[in-house]
């Protein structure tokens, strides 16, 4: 994914005319100078403005903002665990509160490693991190099993020539 993004940036740069590139650089400089690091400006306004930039520019100007946590979509998609599926004396390892102390606990389970936390607790952690707090499994690093296309093609070839 990273590679594709970099490739896109390169392509975009190559297509830019000299003039556009220059004005973009000026714009970036102004943005850095007056926007991002200036406490006089309302941070909400700056964020709003930043969001209006194309994602391409956002990632180009602030590469450190990339890959800093899991996406909200990912967090929202974590499977929920019903209350009767966990021992009520178990505690959430992040807030140390017993799951059973809440009549309607919202629990989430991480894919692959299977560790369970209060949804609120794990959401807060994953908004800035990508690893399980228990075992450091990279939670969003597992891709949906790719179809092994190389083999499929091979078989196709065999079919064609065999």
């Amino acid at each position: 994914m990273c590679n594709t993004e970099e490739h896109n940036i390169e392509t975009a740069n190559a297509e830019d005319s000299e003039e556009r590139r220059e004005s973009r650089a000026q714009f970036q400089e102004l943005f850095e100078q007056f926007g991002r690091n200036n406490p006089q400006f309302n941070p909400e306004l700056i964020e709003l403005f930043q969001n209006m930039l194309s994602p391409l520019l956002q990632s180009q100007w602030h590469p450190e903002d990339r890959e800093k946590g899991c996406s909200q979509e990912f967090i929202d998609s974590l499977p929920r665990v019903p209350r009767n599926k966990v021992p009520l004396t178990d505690t959430c390892s992040i807030c140390f509160e017993r799951f059973g102390n809440d009549n309607y606990p919202l629990l989430a389970q991480l894919p692959h490693c299977g560790h369970i936390f209060d949804l609120q607790c794990i959401s807060m952690w994953l908004s800035n991190q990508v690893t399980c707090p228990m075992c450091r499994d990279v939670v969003n690093g597992h891709k949906v099993q790719d179809l092994d296309t190389s083999k499929a093609e091979l078989e196709e070839d065999w079919g064609m020539y065999g």
Binding site: S93, I94, C95, F96, C121, W125, T131, P133, M134
Partner: protein, 153 residues
């Protein structure tokens, strides 16, 4: 202040003194953002026979962010402790932190660091260099000298 640190406090009190070798306790039980512990110098190290106060500060975003720990300035001669400030460099309290760890774990990690210094990320260049050179005599000698002349015995 998060409920988490309050639960840690209750756990510590409930577990009793024996479970809390380092005597980790809040400076003011009404506050819980500032804690203190006492580390005994591990046996077989130049720190043996000395005890070291350690200050633990709990940030607003705890436990998402790690607690910060600090020795009193100019009391801890150690490759990973800045002599002049007492600042500690320890991965557990930086990038290696996760919110399932707690204050007691952090203090234990610092105690382990006394026995197992990591000369690869030094804050005390002199000691780290001696450690890397394998000059144990000079290394131990400097630490013992500093400890003998430190205000904390």
């Amino acid at each position: 202040m998060s409920q988490r640190v309050l639960r840690e406090y209750r756990r510590l009190v409930a577990a009793g003194g024996a479970a809390n070798e380092s005597n980790l306790h809040p400076t003011d039980p009404a506050d819980l953002t500032h804690w203190e512990a006492t580390l005994e110098g591990p046996q077989g190290t130049p720190y043996e026979g000395h005890s070291f106060p350690l200050r633990v500060t709990v940030p607003d975003k705890y436990p998402t962010l790690p607690p910060s720990v600090c020795f009193p300035k100019r009391t801890m001669p150690h490759p990973n402790v800045k002599w002049d400030t007492g600042e500690v460099c320890l991965d557990t309290l930086a990038g290696g932190w996760t919110p399932v760890m707690d204050l007691q774990y952090a203090v234990m990690a610092v105690r382990r660091l006394l026995a197992e210094p990591n000369p690869e990320s030094p804050l005390n260049l002199e000691l780290a260099a001696l450690s890397r050179l394998g000059d144990h005599k000079a290394y131990d000698g400097i630490i013992k000298y500093r400890l003998a002349h430190s205000s904390i015995k």
